[in-house]
Symmetry: C2
Subunit: 237 residues, 2 copies
DNA sequence: GCCTCATAAAATTTCGAAATTATATTGACA
DNA sequence: TGTCAATATAATTTCGAAATTTTATGAGGC
């Protein structure tokens, strides 16, 4: 699964692999995580496995009940709404700070990551069926890098960390909707609008565009859920 | 140490005990956490201990380097400022939401926790020397309960969780300054002002009073650090 | 005297199994 | 036939020690 990762211990590696498999949906929301099975699947012992699970509980990717085991954290429309709301709050705060504090090197990194993302988005096919897994992975990676670079210069490590955590949680939801047909054109335009606002150091516009981007993304996800078997992915709301 | 706690497993209990000992300063900031020693001190084996540490890393109470072990997370004035800033952001958002969404039962719980806190604050002595550990613990508990009740009706589980985490982190800093002399009178007045604003469902005033309260508390902590051996508690800023 | 390399000690990380707790099954009784 | 208790099974939790990695120690060479 995840191969070349900066994991210095088995525990680290297992944590990253489990997280990726949950985000990707290989481990379905709500599924019971049997320790015996996970030890076999990931080829590790009890200790690093439990350590990885403890970290995933902090990330809200896994839930636990004492003496009863572990489950993949459920998904819900209520959580999607909450995630979107708090991301808006933190992301706008972070971008505002970054625009004020960021130097030329930061602006260059924003330009670079945006260019790479724009290149990939230009290659995206119109139909969802023609979207290869490789291209999807490249887009996910570039999208993550672009949004991370936007807030990298913010002078609040705590906000940056919280934002990062919520981004990962949201990725779970986005992955479900990305396999369905999407309005890629709109996303591309939204990224451009954010980039231009940041480039011009226009705080208000950058915040507004960011909020629109997050809201629209959440709308897409909500639609995809409504279309394809919501009961498979969603807990009772 | 922590005795009657809702811990269903050794791992849980160890997590709570370690966190309390770090917040209380029994485990000093920056100190190396030797696994062998911790196993003896807390009377547990390797597995629950490492699980507890993994959770504390998520809470930013502990840091780790692969293959090199664990340390009590350092403290810094920079982090105090960041904590104060983000707490203001989340706390005001949460209180606003709670005032709008909260029902009569919530308002009652706010009144109850405020009354209890006011009672205890009325008993506080003028000089720091006369402050008993029992009274300090009672105040910490009531203060926590009051502030928690204020935001309990907010309709964002994520904000409530983040707020809770930052409150615990801040408690570490506050404990250092509480042993020094304090302007208790001012804190009492601030709590009253927040309570009255919430009781009147005055969102703007509740937010403003909350911000003032957080800022003044941080100022007290900063002063206490300047007075008493900052290099003992603080990492390089 | 100082740097380098080999060796020893200490600490972390991981495994595998024992002990504990929860869940499922079976049989007795009303 | 349904309910409850007793037993058997399965799963989680914990321990203690082996394996790995880092850090400290000391000898030899420049």
């Amino acid at each position: 699964m995840t191969s070349a990762s900066p994991a210095r211990s088995l525990s680290d590696r297992t944590y990253l692999q489990l997280r990726e498999d949950i985000v990707a949906g290989k481990l379905q929301a709500g599924a019971k995580l049997k320790l015996e099975g996970l030890m076999q699947d990931y080829g590790v012992g009890m200790s690093p496995l439990r350590e990885a699970l403890a970290r995933l509980i902090g990330d809200r990717m896994v839930t636990t009940e004492a003496q009863r085991g572990f489950w993949v954290a459920p998904m819900s429309l209520a959580e999607l709404d909450d995630l979107t709301r708090v991301r808006s709050l933190l992301e706008t705060e972070a971008i505002s700070s970054a625009i004020v504090k960021g130097d030329a090197a930061w602006m260059q990194s924003v330009t670079d990551t945006f260019s790479q993302l724009a290149d990939i988005e230009a290659q995206l096919p119109a139909s969802a069926e023609a979207l290869t897994p490789q291209l999807l992975e490249a887009w996910e990676s570039s999208n993550r890098a672009f949004h991370a670079s936007l807030v990298a210069a913010a002078d609040s490590p705590i906000i940056i960390r919280f934002r990062q955590q919520l981004y990962q949680q949201s990725e779970r939801y986005r992955r479900v909707s990305l396999t369905a047909s999407r309005g890629w054109r709109s996303v591309t335009e939204e990224h451009l609008a954010i980039y231009e606002a940041v480039r011009d150091r226009n705080v208000l516009r950058a915040c507004k565009m960011t909020e629109i981007h997050l809201t629209r993304t959440a709308d897409e996800v909500r639609k995809a859920f409504a279309a394809a078997n919501p009961e498979r992915f969603l807990a009772a709301t």
